[in-house]
């Protein structure tokens, strides 16, 4: 069983290493990630949002919907923890 796990993990590693060869290079300006919306943010962020920190303007403005989801996830964690732990106390 242990041997089978190791073989499967080895095969998966080989698959990942094989797929890694097709990834664009790190910081490649011609990569799809660098040619889609990134140039627009870099060129217009300061003029459109008066925010020198590009990370903040993307996080809270251009991709604000995403950050709203993250915030909701965090508060959901708090509510879930409160519900679970309250229930535990009541059962005592």
């Amino acid at each position: 069983m242990r041997g089978l796990t190791l073989v499967l993990l080895g095969l998966f590693l080989a698959l990942l290493l094989y797929a890694e060869g097709d990834l664009p290079g790190r910081g490649d300006p011609a990569a799809p990630a660098s040619t889609h919306v990134s140039p627009y943010y870099i060129q217009h962020s300061l003029a459109e949002t008066k925010t020198p920190n590009l990370v903040t303007s993307v996080l809270a403005d251009y991709r604000g919907y995403d950050t709203l989801g993250e915030t909701v996830v965090i508060v959901t964690a708090a509510l879930a923890a409160a519900l679970v732990l309250l229930g535990e106390r009541r059962a005592d």
């Binding site: 003029a47 459109e48 949002t49 008066k50 925010t51 020198p52 920190n53 990370v55 903040t56 303007s57 996080l59 809270a60 403005d61 604000g64 919907y65 950050t67 709203l68 915030t71 909701v72 965090i74 508060v75 964690a77 708090a78 509510l79 923890a81 409160a82 732990l85 309250l86 535990e88 106390r89």
Partner: protein
């Protein structure tokens, strides 16, 4: 239930440090436009100052600084602040979370988006702060 630490050194240092940590946290939230930082990081630092007081003073003696019952309402208020900032532009002809349509007469669009980001970051900070404290308080109480 957490109790007050017996050593006066611990309680005094914690009481000295907590406001400084909170002050730095406010700086991190407000300075997110110019440097690494923002709502998430600042919220965690605010929570750290509260949790330091909880650990050193116990829940009862640190309650005046941050009542345990405040944590969850504050977290929800943070999300509400964020959501309202997103919904208000909807009624004023913009898209969801379109800060340029926030109702502030005379302000140019970049400035509105600048302040929209700030309001949203404050909302995130409140949500993170309340969440951390709420989870910590419940886990600490469970210890018995």
């Amino acid at each position: 239930m957490l109790t007050r630490h017996p050593s006066p050194v611990v309680t005094t240092v914690a009481r000295l440090l907590a406001p400084l940590i909170a002050l730095f946290a406010l700086y991190v939230v407000a300075h997110g436009h110019y440097s690494p930082g923002g709502g998430f990081q600042g919220g965690v630092l605010l929570a750290a100052s509260t949790l330091l007081l909880r650990l050193a003073l116990g829940e009862k003696d640190s309650a005046p600084a941050f009542p345990p019952s405040l944590a969850l309402p504050m977290a929800v208020t943070g999300v509400l602040l964020y959501t309202v900032t997103g919904v208000v532009p909807l009624f004023l002809g913009g898209g969801y979370l379109d800060y340029a349509r926030l109702p502030w007469p005379g302000a140019p669009a970049p400035l509105l988006r600048y302040f929209g980001i700030l309001v949203v970051e404050v909302g995130v900070a409140l949500a993170v702060w309340g969440t951390m404290v709420a989870i910590f308080d419940r886990l600490a109480r469970g210890e018995g």
